[in-house]
């Protein structure tokens, strides 16, 4: 296979980038930013905490311990010669990695010696090295990472909500797993996951900032090992439309109670760019600080400025989550439901629609300042089968009727769940 290059341009954003299908199988995006000193590179596998049951090339169905994608992320930094952080120390790059529900990403940013740092990234991601000893060493470190999250009320309130929303989908399981589940992880299982998901055809590389296409491809041509595409299938148990339970509460040492109020949405496929634009504008019109809902919540002392909302979607799951601190979460949730019902009945005003549209448009344009946010966004869009500039045009072209039509198909007030974390004293 030959390498193919396509330039993608946005007149609105005043930017362009290059989309490349590399002969090795890797999907590559290069987004040069004129005048920038720094560059940011991220390589990701379409493999996250939800991929716990899978098969490869029609082979047998394999189930692996919860938290293994995240464990693999920690261990991939090590090779027989030492760890990647030590190698990055020689270039001055700032490196990191993260695992989410649906992907695992490795990244660095630097201002000098880009080629050297880039080589380190491409090298260690293609060079797994797991032994019983190195696997055992990580148990203590990740164990403490899990316990840190166990003490996080924001984290707990979200997972309690997901448990009450999803009957079967593994999105309800903590990304890092549990101290018990990670004890079952072995070097062999890590290799099994690595060989299944870290195929370059299942991965994406995004580089933004002070780089050229030629520069990126030169290192890629030299470093990337050609991968034969193979068929990876992830299995998810059938997930009913309905939520599990409408309310869950946990006692926790907090002085400010917090809540997550989630609406379970149909998740047979991911939203495309136009639909995403409609959802973002809709949520902004409904619940941003400009909205009548926000005003009523504030005036009745039901929220404070930590209140936020988000669309939360991935393979086989989709929900809209409202959340923040509140001393009266049940009343806050009832108010949100009431406003959604009213919007479904009466629509939204032209003024609210126009303001929300401008706000969403400004947000996405603003996000093109930072090389880190550009590279991460492009990776996200790639894995979801979408394209960034198409999304920007979709926001600019959005019509109120489409947004209202979107509303009619989501935010079912009979299919939502409230999760609250509060102190036992005032329970």
């Amino acid at each position: 296979m030959n390498t193919t290059i396509k330039e993608v341009t946005s007149a609105r954003a005043g930017d362009s980038y290059f989309q490349i299908k590399h002969r090795s199988g890797l999907n590559i995006y290069v987004y040069p930013k004129e005048g920038y000193r720094s560059a940011y590179a991220i390589i990701g596998a379409k493999y996250g905490s939800v991929n716990t049951c899978f098969s490869c090339d029609g082979g047998e169905k394999i189930t692996v311990p919860d938290g293994i994608a995240h464990y693999l992320e920690h261990k991939l930094f090590e090779s027989a010669e030492g760890d990647a952080f030590t190698r990055y120390a020689e270039t001055g790059a700032s490196a990191n990695a993260y695992t989410s529900f649906e992907k695992t990403c490795y990244l660095f940013s630097c201002t000098d010696k880009f080629d050297e740092s880039f080589e380190i990234l491409l090298d260690f991601v293609q060079d797994p090295y797991f032994t019983a000893q190195t696997v055992a060493k990580e148990q203590g470190i990740i164990g403490q990472e899990i316990k840190m999250y166990d003490d996080s009320p924001d984290w707990r309130v979200m997972f309690n909500m997901l448990e009450n929303m999803y009957h079967n989908h593994p999105v309800k399981i903590d990304i890092a797993g549990t101290v018990e589940s990670i004890a079952e992880i072995t070097a062999e299982k890590l290799y099994q996951c690595y060989n299944t998901f870290y195929n370059l055809n299942n991965m994406v590389l995004c580089v933004a900032g002070n780089v050229t296409v030629e520069q990126v491809l030169k290192t890629c041509d030299r470093m990337l090992h050609e991968s034969e595409p193979h068929e990876v299938r992830s299995y998810f148990e059938n997930e009913p439309y309905e939520i599990v339970e409408p309310y869950v509460e946990q006692s926790f040492p907090v002085s400010m109670p917090i809540f997550n109020f989630g609406f379970k949405e149909k998740a047979d496929r991911l939203f495309n760019e136009r639909e995403l634009a409609q959802v973002e504008i809709l949520l902004s019109a409904l619940a941003s600080p400009t909205s009548a809902l926000y005003r009523e919540l504030l005036d009745n002392n039901l929220i404070n400025n930590t209140f936020s909302y988000e669309l939360f979607e991935g393979p086989g799951y989709c929900s809209v989550i409202f959340g923040g601190e509140s001393r009266a979460p049940k009343q806050a949730a009832e108010t949100i439901k009431r406003y959604i019902t009213a919007a479904k009945e009466n629509g939204i005003s032209d003024e609210d629609f126009e303001i929300a549209k401008k706000g969403v448009y400004g947000d996405v344009i603003s996000s093109l300042n930072s090389v880190g946010s550009i590279a991460n966004m492009i990776a996200d869009y790639h894995f979801n089968g979408n394209e960034l500039f198409t999304y920007i045009d979709a926001v600019a072209a959005a019509e109120k009727a489409d947004v209202l039509n979107r509303l009619s198909q989501m935010l079912d007030v009979n299919n939502c769940t409230l999760s609250v974390v509060k102190s036992g004293d005032n329970a």
């Binding site: 630097c110 164990g143 603003s366």
Partner: protein
């Protein structure tokens, strides 16, 4: 790198402009700097929130929010921080650059005027703020105070400072106390506003594609006719520590927290602060630091263990999360790494790699609007603005002897432990 143009608009009022065409957004902020004190901290913090939620022209939160959202999701935000013995109240306006608006609107001009009007023309009635607005802001600020306990890492760090600096001005919290927040009235907030316009030091910072002169003119006009008697506090630097204090608190937590507070023995404007900053980064500032490599990677004791240096106050703080039974082991592990540094156990590689990492972070910061703002805002308390190249040269010139000397100035003052009941 861009150059910064700094001008004096009035006594104790500086306007700094950075013109940069690389970004899709502009940002204008006003930092109001005033001595930290138990009597005024809460009122100042409350006022800062009041100013950012409405003004005469947009007299309530919804009207102001709608104005901002119609300016393509522009933001008006307020923050309160401590810088040594001063309190810094910052109100910022940020929005997309005029080149990217859909209908050719000028966001920059409107935002400059808006920021100016929220500071100089608040929503007042009969020489006082509007009571309902005060009550709303008061409730939210009390929530902020309460929420500190929610995140145990934040709480543990705050408890360390509270205990370590209990007899110093720096021990006052940035938002003051609930009692003082409750005591504020619409009238007292008005007086606080008047007092700050007269006595605070103002640092106004503009970053954007357009020339800064319009924003500058708006502020210059606003300060005309305002009587000025600016004052800032000289931060009290405690350079040594006696016998270390140990404080343990027990609550229901899965993970214990260990926070260690050291006197660094040096603070701004001493020139030794740069060697101390480098020493601190070698100890626990990067993924190659002594703490990361040893207490995390070798001993598997924790997920995070980092150190940071407050060069305005002259403190080094180390914090970590750990299994309850391993607290002593972790504390001993941290002290061993410091002891090594005091004895000169530092490789040339550790020094050169950490210098590179620091300079990389300086240079990277110049590629974001927020990074440029922080770069200069962190130097409000320095004698003059340094460029990235100048600061990099200073870091590169630090010698091993200076790093070892910096480590030898570290004096453990207080150890705070939060553990499971």
């Amino acid at each position: 790198m861009n150059t910064i143009q700094r001008k004096t608009l009035a006594d104790g009022v500086s306007f700094s402009g950075v013109q940069d065409s690389r970004f899709k957004t502009m940002r204008l902020s006003a930092s109001i700097i005033t001595p930290l004190s138990a009597d005024t901290a809460s009122e100042n913090a409350l006022l800062c929130g009041m100013l950012s939620r409405s003004c005469k022209q947009y007299p309530d939160f919804t009207a102001l929010s709608k104005k901002l959202e119609s300016l393509y999701g522009a933001e008006l935000s307020a923050s309160v921080r401590k810088a040594g013995d001063n309190q810094v109240l910052t109100i910022s306006a940020a929005g997309i650059d005029d080149r990217y608006t859909l209908d050719g609107e000028s966001v920059t001009k409107e935002l400059s005027e808006l920021l100016c009007s929220v500071i100089f023309e608040p929503n007042l009635a009969d020489g006082a703020f509007v009571e309902s607005e005060v009550e709303q802001e008061r409730r939210q600020l009390l929530d902020v105070l309460d929420s500190e306990f929610n995140e145990k890492r934040t709480y543990a760090n705050a408890q360390l400072i509270k205990n370590m600096c209990k007899d110093e001005v720096f021990g006052i919290k940035r938002y003051g106390t609930a009692e003082k927040i409750n005591a504020a009235t619409p009238r007292s907030l008005y007086q606080t506003w008047q007092r700050l316009l007269k006595t605070a030091v103002f640092e106004i910072l503009y970053i954007g594609d357009s020339a800064p002169d319009k924003a500058e003119a708006v502020f210059a006009a606003a300060f005309k006719g305002i009587e000025r008697e600016p004052a800032m506090a000289q931060t009290e630097i405690v350079r040594t520590a006696g016998e270390p204090k140990h404080i343990t608190e027990e609550i229901d937590v899965a993970q214990s927290k260990l926070v260690m507070g050291f006197r660094a023995g040096t603070a701004l404007p001493d020139k030794e602060v740069y060697a101390t900053a480098l020493m601190c980064a070698i100890l626990g500032g990067t993924a190659n630091s002594k703490l990361f490599c040893n207490v995390r990677e070798k001993q598997s004791l924790c997920y995070y263990c980092g150190s940071r240096y407050d060069k305005v106050k002259g403190l080094v703080i180390i914090d970590s999360g750990v299994e309850g039974e391993n607290i002593e082991k972790l504390e001993a592990g941290v002290l061993k790494e410091i002891e090594d540094m005091k004895n000169g156990v530092i490789t040339d590689f550790e020094i050169s790699a950490t210098k590179m990492a620091i300079i990389n972070s300086y240079q990277t910061s110049n590629d974001t609007v927020g990074g440029i703002e922080s770069w200069y805002a962190s130097q409000f308390f320095d004698s003059s603005f340094k460029t990235i190249a100048e600061m990099s040269a200073i870091i590169n010139a630090v010698t091993k002897e200076e790093i070892v000397a910096a480590a030898n100035r570290l004096a453990l003052d207080t150890v705070y432990v939060l553990k499971n009941r």
